[in-house]
Symmetry: C2
Subunit: 362 residues, 2 copies
């Protein structure tokens, strides 16, 4: 039982062409327009014709060509998503959530990674527009001002995530970087610490500086001396931390402002044989898998990664569906959560199952 070959079939190196709406119309003996109406439900069609058309669709295995639809209707049903790196679980989790929302809305996602490169981000965003995406969710890369504030993006739906684009009218979704950091540092202060150092890894200026500000606020409110290290990259971490721990103002607690900084610091502390939380207390911004299974389980500020992606995508679809002038400048800020484990000095609660790190969405 070989399937019937569409009348318009031609053989190419890639095989037969798929059936078109004209093929269906011919087989059902109606006009292409009538088939279109059955497909889209745009207008009523006599039941007997509907039946003939549906039979033809079945027989020919007809499926509408979405590219042609997009060209004709100027609606691609595709959104774009730009992230710095997918190899970062935080961004990847956000991407997962964005995709789920898109699928729920009948949309597909065109994704790209900027690799934190200004030009890549810009050219890929442009390309997405040329491909007709109806909107873009972007996590701007670190270390530059995104060019997506340019005039050419003026009329396309846009939601910035995690960090802002330098243009006040763009909708944005952030977390409480300042408040979360202040909470974390206050927690350390509550444990009696006075010498607390804030350590960043010199990447993302926006989130890191907000978190540093939260640290500074907490310190100032308690009349404590501020000590911030901002260049604790993978290469320099070891030297900087050794130096810090050997200085006469060695801290009794550390607050790290993002995942990489936490990782770099932890690594060096392990090498130095520093025991958490006895020799030193530590709280990091951003949770990660296995944070609860380290030598000393880590107390962290958890960002709602999945929720961030979900909210950003939902906001994008609001823009798309309302058909509004997109750039309202709505800012949504999501709360973060202090997840208390052992590294801050808290005692483990005996009868409670340990807090699991970030769960995947769905």
């Amino acid at each position: 039982m070989t399937p019937p070959v569409p009348p318009s079939a031609r053989s190419t190196s890639k095989g037969r062409h798929r059936a078109t709406i004209a093929d269906v119309a011919r087989m059902a003996e109606v006009a292409p327009m009538t088939v279109s109406r059955v497909l889209t439900g745009a207008a009523a069609v006599r039941p007997d014709k509907v039946k003939r058309i549906q039979e033809a669709i079945q027989l020919l295995r007809y499926k509408p060509n979405e590219t042609a639809r997009a060209l004709r209707s100027q609606r691609s049903r595709i959104i774009g998503l730009i992230v710095p790196r997918l190899s970062d679980p935080f961004f990847a989790t956000i991407a997962h959530a964005v995709n789920n929302v898109a699928v729920d809305n009948g949309y597909s996602v065109l994704i790209t990674t900027s690799n934190d490169e200004e030009e890549t981000e810009y050219s890929q965003a442009q390309l997405m527009v040329l491909r007709g995406v109806e909107g873009i969710v972007i996590i701007p890369g670190a270390g530059y001002h995104s060019k997506l504030n340019r005039q050419e993006f003026e009329h396309i739906c846009l939601v910035a995530l995690d960090k802002p684009i330098d243009e006040p009218s763009i909708d944005s979704v952030f977390v409480e970087n300042f408040e979360g950091s202040r909470t974390a540092v206050e927690h350390l202060i509550g444990h009696g610490h006075q010498r607390i150092t804030c350590i960043s890894d010199a990447s993302d200026l926006y989130t890191l500086s907000k978190r540093q500000q939260g640290y500074e606020q907490a310190m100032m409110e308690h009349d404590l001396k501020i000590n911030t290290i901002t260049d604790c990259t993978a290469e320099r971490a070891s030297d900087r931390i050794r130096q810090l721990m050997q200085s006469k103002y060695a801290p009794t607690a550390i607050f790290t402002t993002n995942g990489p900084a936490t990782r770099n610091v932890l690594h060096t502390l392990l090498q130095l044989g520093v025991k958490l939380p006895d020799d030193l207390a530590l709280i990091g911004f951003d949770d990660f898998e296995f944070a609860d299974m380290l030598q000393t389980s880590l107390t962290v500020i958890r960002q709602p990664a999945s929720e961030m992606g979900r909210i950003a995508a939902l906001r994008l679809f609001e823009q798309i569906q309302d058909d509004i002038e997109p750039h309202i400048g709505k800012v949504i800020t999501l709360p973060v959560e202090l997840v208390i484990r052992r590294s801050c000095g808290c005692k483990p609660r005996p009868s409670t199952t340990p807090r699991k790190p970030r769960a995947s969405s769905r």
Copy 2:
């Protein structure tokens, strides 16, 4: 200095329409076709006209509509990528690499997550075809036979990654699941272990069974008794491991066959207060961030995630560019690597920097 408005400009709720090739042709006083030739370089055009055309392009900020191009030329310059979950760092790292290859080839990536659901995977793959993707890289979901072996995918370029699609003619990229597992188990045997249990989490049948076979092979070659647990899910892990460790055949070493299994086992061992590697040795299949910073750093089999994505995408582009009948059934198998840390019982090498977990590509 406001930019000139294209002659065809109309205002809509989303702002002006962008300039078309006809606008450029009009301004440069040539035929649209000539503009097209300048754009694509398909044929030579007289220098003076080229200049006029390029000026017009600049002035009108003309950019070609890629949807129209795709429709006309039947080449979307888009590939599809289907992964079970992006929240899994292994898949996300692969996705990152696939995207990089795509961008290098001037292509974009339409991504979707199947959430390990047969129907989602199938319908999303279909949708991608309707959107005109020139090929698909797919990581099939666990727990079912992918429907992408259906006739309707017969003529589209396809590369399966990590696990096979039940159709021998589809190109595939795997890792050495069997060999890697045998190596790991032999390593444990080399440490003198005789009672080694193999633990899986009841997810992906293909990779897990290959890895179990590798374990069994190593055990049989050394006349050791095989003991395989296949249902060590997050819910049951705790009971199963307790039970195992208290039985009179309690193992002296464990081999876990994937990341989740490793995680589940580790978690329970921590709760039970089992010390690695003294009370029990452990090797897990699949490396992860922080594997080197756990209570006892973990010895693992590392999969070349980034390389897997890169190779799969390259193979897809070979299919696309060669314009061959796609389904050759080429199988590429990548080697894995035993990363020795502490949990297997090896002594740390003093003067060496610890092996870092999976690095991100680029």
